[in-house]
């Protein structure tokens, strides 16, 4: 079957900086496709080219059989978009915002009132329909924005970090909404920095870093890339890290990585038995051990294996730089 979205060798340069560097993926109809990567990886740029906000420097994008450069308007008409920041005109009421959105997608005038009322019901904003959006809470604006991007019944919905910055309650609601849209048959592309989100929602995931896809597959395929084994995690004092790593190598032949006081290694064979022997070895080595655990690999382990850095660290750095921005 022909894929619903087909992206081939997509490249985007800003000046001579390469933001997206030869990205290819295809998405089946009705799938949720996740683009997972740290801040600055090129997620927004990738979807911006699909949306026609930015023109690709190179490469081919086909959506529902239509080439985005040859049929820009037709492609835009079948895509709905929700940006990372909530874009709602706060000078206008909820209803006016929706009507404006409907107009810009050229929905016939006679259909607009019923579509707008439906959207207001769907987002539970009926009571606030004629209140200026500047009086809405963050969660309300986000809900308004989501139904606005679905007004013209797009076949493909693109969500840029839909839950970044939302509290747990709103995040859970957003996940529910996204699953419901999938159940209605909408194909969805979402970008995220959150492993749990990609794992929980997506049928297929592309992990992207520095503008390149470094791994692609279903969540379980990706986790299997980490070999079949389990992940051993030891937390010790920073000064004992080297000692423990040497011991793991010498006695068990394990190659480990270390971030601050945390050591990680993949245990491939008979994990429980090996785990037992490692515990004993740690005991007799007298290194101060704060915690030892053995777990199934996560997407973060995949990311570490491929890039040597943790996605979580990248995430924290990004969060820190973002909060700096907000303060300034």
């Amino acid at each position: 079957m022909q894929p619903f979205v087909d992206v081939k060798n997509l490249r985007k340069l800003f000046g001579n900086f390469t933001a997206v560097d030869g990205v290819s993926f295809s998405i089946g109809k009705g799938e949720i496709f996740g683009i997972l990567g740290p801040n600055g990886a090129g997620k927004t740029t990738t979807i911006s080219t699909i949306l026609g906000i930015e023109k690709q420097t190179d490469g081919k994008i086909v959506v529902d059989g239509l080439d985005n450069l040859k049929h820009p308007k037709e492609v835009k008409q079948i895509i709905g978009f929700m940006a990372q920041e909530t874009i709602v005109d706060s000078e206008l009421t909820g209803r006016q915002n929706l009507a404006l959105g409907a107009d810009l997608y050229h929905i016939p005038k006679s259909e607009i009132p019923s579509k707008v009322s439906f959207a207001l019901r769907e987002s539970q904003l009926e009571k606030f329909a004629d209140v200026k959006a500047s009086n809405y809470s963050g969660g309300m604006k986000r809900r308004l924005y989501l139904v606005k991007s679905m007004l013209h019944e797009p076949k493909l919905l693109i969500l840029d970090e839909p839950t970044t910055g939302l509290d747990i309650q709103n995040r859970v609601q957003m996940w529910k909404d996204i699953r419901k849209l999938k159940a209605d048959g909408v194909t969805i592309i979402l970008t995220t920095q959150y492993l749990e989100e990609a794992d929980a929602l997506c049928d297929n995931i592309a992990i992207i870093d520095h503008g390149k896809i470094i791994a692609q597959g279903t969540p379980s395929q990706l986790k299997k890339m980490i070999a079949s084994g389990n992940v051993l995690e030891i937390i010790t004092k920073p000064e004992n890290v080297e000692q423990v790593r040497k011991m793991l190598k010498a006695k068990f032949g394990l190659n480990s990585t270390a971030v601050n006081d945390k050591i990680e290694a993949t245990v491939e064979k008979s994990p429980l038995d090996t785990f037992q022997r490692i515990l004993n070895a740690l005991k007799s080595s007298k290194a101060p051990v704060l915690s030892v655990s053995l777990r199934l690999p996560t997407l973060d382990d995949v990311f570490i294996k491929l890039t040597g850095a943790s996605l979580r660290d990248a995430e924290q750095k990004a969060d820190a730089s973002q909060s700096n921005k907000a303060v300034r």
Binding site: G52, I53, Q77, A83, D89, L92, D103, L104, Y105, H106
Partner: protein, 258 residues
């Protein structure tokens, strides 16, 4: 197919124009703010200073300066509505429009028409108030060209605002740059003084300033006398409008929406 798309573009222009008007009507404080400056000029210069001034060209100073003040308020409103692109970009609204099936050029045109309409409404209010305080509006067939001049002044300077707004991304620097353009544009025009009293080198600057021809056109059509011929004024304004709109469409095409 081609026809259908053209109709869609017209619809988009209309929708964006309507948005500007709705926002203008809603923001009552903005309307008052926008009228304050011309009113101060009207009272301070027109009545206060005007009582001391006798123009060598004859006629009252109030009749001379009302078209100048209308030109000024058109200039300021137009530049600031052009720069609203910056706000659109800041709040992501630009991105929001760019993902819809409409071309960038209809976005620019919608903005220009919206800005021009609000600037025209404002000018009409200023004219009505001027008449109340003693402005003698000159009744002649040429009067029908007054709104044309107002629209051309508005379009030229919305184009300037759009161009500036597309290039400058930092908001604070932006207000500085805006006044860096608008102040000299007004004071180095024929808005407050007749060109004939200006020193030679300032004269050359005012000749190069499109606002001079716009205000002169308003003087001919509203007060009945000007420096150039009405056709010179009209031609100059048409040329400057065409140049500024082309420039802004180009700048807007290049603008970064992120």
């Amino acid at each position: 197919m081609q026809k259908g798309i053209d109709k869609m573009e017209i619809n988009a222009v209309y929708v964006l124009w309507l948005r500007d008007i709705k926002r203008f009507i809603r923001a009552k404080s903005r309307i008052i703010g926008i009228l304050m400056m011309p009113l101060f000029f009207l009272l301070g210069l027109g009545l206060g200073l005007g009582s001391l001034i006798h123009l060598s060209t004859g006629g009252s100073y109030l009749d001379f300066i009302v078209p100048g003040i209308i030109g000024m308020s058109l200039l300021f409103t137009a530049v600031s509505s052009g720069t609203a692109v910056l706000w659109d970009r800041q709040f992501g609204f630009l991105k929001e429009i760019l993902v819809t099936p409409n071309s960038r050029i209809s976005i620019v045109i919608g903005r220009i028409l919206g800005g021009a309409s609000t600037a025209l409404i404002q000018s009409v209010i200023v004219i009505l108030i001027s008449i109340l305080i003693g402005f003698n509006i000159h009744m002649s067939p040429a009067l029908i060209l007054a709104p044309v001049f107002m629209a051309l002044i508005a379009a030229t300077f919305i184009g300037l605002g759009l161009t500036l707004g597309s290039f400058i991304s930092d908001f604070q620097g932006f207000q500085l740059v805006t006044s860096f353009f608008t102040m000299p544009l007004f004071f180095l025009s024929n808005g407050i003084f007749p060109i004939s009293v200006l020193p030679q080198f300032v004269k050359y600057i005012t000749y190069a300033n499109p606002l001079t021809y716009g205000i002169d056109g308003l003087r001919i059509t509203l007060s009945g006398s000007g420096t150039f011929s009405i056709w010179t004024d009209l031609a100059a304004m048409l040329i400057s409008t065409a140049i500024m709109i082309a420039l802004s469409a180009y700048a807007f095409k290049k603008t970064d929406v992120g």
